[in-house]
Amino acid sequence: MGDDETSRPSFSAGMRWGKRFNVGFGTCLVFAILVMVNYLSSRYFLRKEIGLSTQNALSPQTEKLLKALTNDVEITILFDTKAEEDIYGLTSKLLKEYSYRTPKILLKTIDFNRNPSAAQLLLAKHKLSGLQKNVIVFHCNDTTKVVYGNNLSEYDIQPLLNQTSKEIRRQGFKGESLFTSAILAVAYPQKLKAYFTVGHGEHDPMLTTSDRRAYSKFAAILTEENNIQFSRLYLPDTNAVPEDCNVLIVAGPSTAAFAEQELTKISSYLKSGGRALFLFNTETKLESGIEAKILAKWGVGIRFNLVVDSENPSSFAVQRLDAQHPITKNILSEQMSIELYPSRAVGMLSGAPKGPTSPKVEVLAQTSDKAVGFDAETKAYSRGTYPLMVAVEQGSIKGVTTGARIIVTGDSFFLSNMMIDNEANHFFASMVINWLADRPQLLFEIGPKPIHEFKVSLSVSKMRQLQFLFLAGMPGAVLLFGILVWLKRRS
């Protein structure tokens, strides 16, 4: 019996195989758990930014748009990543945030220098010039939109003009505004169109100067930020307001009144549920005809006066905004202030019909109670509160608007190239257009994100000190300490 026990192997072949199987199976099981855990974590994840700056946070507008995407949007960043490292870094980071929000965003980067063939292929595919090294291409369902790298930054040239610095510093990054707009353009390719009436001394959307008559910056807000094309409309040449007109803009008529036929066309357009923005100003020496023959029928009155609400006669800040209306409540929540040129008073007519089917007129903006109005007819001054802007809406049932929408303002210069750079004016222009075009998902403004840049200016001796500290001082100190410990141990 004792012999049997000693001759029996302590680890039989069967046991060895069993153990091997056990190890193999266990390892596969753990690996499967690893894959499963990572698969689940990639589907249900949490991203939290805890830095003091919120560079990577997306605006509610972008978040909303990304969540609503139903088609895949391919975004290709074609950049010279070495030469444009900073702006590429910001672009890449931001677009990665987009792709983390939805799997519908497919993001790819092509380095112009590392992968020139792929870069050329992309440029040829989208018929872009080979000279364009830094572009971001958005593509969805045969629709392509390109954002150029040189449009992404906002620069502060003031120190250069003041000769306090020889450097132009980047102060803002416009990426989110341009990228969200591009996604909107390719994912929802339905083109909206705005028409600017001409022939009555209106502001010119093609005029790019920085004066009060030029409206090119407002036109750029339409096209670049809101994906709305625009054209000029000479009403006597058409039978009616064009059918593809989503927003009609009458921007400060000042030299000629509208002819009866033109007024009829505008009136018919509004009656059929059209959307219009009427901007007046105090330089108008005559009635355009719109005031009495169109707007009065919609319950809007416009006084022939000049209103100022500050001691500064050239411009004033709007003191009171409607906290409920979607256009103005966002401006209030952002604590911004609309700057107006002296304005005409625009308000609700007292005798306007009130009923369930009547147009709903809301005053969007008013002066403070200390504003001064000069009446051109009576030549009298009077102090008080003056309404400055109104919104008219017809046929709104539980938030769904089927009828006309009108915005009337007593000043038109506040959206001109001269004043639209004011943040609130810019915001207002965008809000108004999106409200008129019935795009509630875009009733937020995406402004440029401020960029905080780091720079050091050290003397040669300071640089040497730093070089010594980094390359010799710190490593040397550790090595010296190590040698001391070693010597002590030896002794």
Binding site: E49, R170, Q467, F470, P475, G476, V478, V485
Partner: protein, 250 residues
């Protein structure tokens, strides 16, 4: 837990009483210093909107420190014990296999983190020369260290595994370097794939260390990256445990 702490202390002692540990820290510190000197020279020439921590991780020195230090720190943890024959002695002590594995891993990780501590000094120096408090946002510094810690967990566990399978420290180091380098290279492979939806692209993106570190270095904590590093660390520690355990049935 007492045996675990005792063993961890013994392992840490092996790093700090010999010259080897200090040489590793010195070389790493030299590379970190070199990268910071490069950053300061760059900032001297032009301004940048990127946080300093992000500029640091972009430099090749960061990855050089990570990829080279892990094999060097871990190559001896099991191999030396095997080659000198002290492993069997260790295994006869009343300490479980898991405790041995975890103690050696913890000691390597603690040494690795100590090696990175001077980074704080470099950041403070940059903060001093830029005179800009935002150049050293404590939250971003915290997340950067979290990223370094998680990367360290993965690389130390890989190193422990590599060291456990061989008696030769050189082979252990080479094996650890090969696994670590392969994982790192996978990051670049993801960029070469066409823009398509699919498990390959998704997997490579999920494993992209550059992406993870970019997030950490700008103050973003992503649960995917945290889970990836912790689970992969767990997997390699499990493999190490199996190798250590295998002496019982070989």
């Amino acid at each position: 837990m007492q045996p675990f702490f005792t063993l961890t202390r013994r392992e840490l002692g092996a790093y700090f009483v010999s010259l080897t540990g200090y040489v590793i820290i010195t070389v790493s510190l030299f590379l970190i210093g070199l990268s910071f000197y490069t950053i300061v020279s760059k900032l001297q020439a032009e301004s940048t909107p990127l946080p300093i921590t992000e500029l640091f991780y972009i430099t090749p020195f960061f990855w050089l420190v990570l990829l080279l230090s892990a094999p060097i720190i871990t190559m001896r943890v099991f191999s030396l014990e095997h080659s000198t024959g002290t492993f069997e002695t260790l295994m006869t002590t009343p300490i479980s296999d898991w405790q041995v594995v975890m103690a050696k891993f913890t000691a390597s990780l603690v040494f690795y983190m100590v090696m990175w501590l001077p980074l704080l000094g470099c950041l403070a120096a940059i903060r001093y020369v830029t005179r800009d408090p935002s150049s050293m946002d404590p939250n971003i510094v915290g997340t950067t260290f979290l990223g370094i810690f998680l990367l360290g967990c993965l690389y130390m566990s890989m190193g422990c595994f590599a060291s456990s399978v061989t008696k030769s420290q050189m082979i252990a180091a080479m094996l650890s370097l090969a696994i670590g380098l392969s994982l790192f290279i996978l990051t670049f492979l993801g960029e070469q794939l066409p823009m398509e939806k699919g498990w390959a692209v998704a997997t490579l993106n999920h494993m992209s260390m550059l992406e993870h570190m970019q997030d950490f270095s700008r103050g973003v904590i992503d649960s995917r990256a945290v889970i990836y590093y912790l689970s992969a660390t767990g997997f390699f520690l499990f493999l190490t445990y199996r190798v250590v355990e295998s002496r019982r049935w070989k």
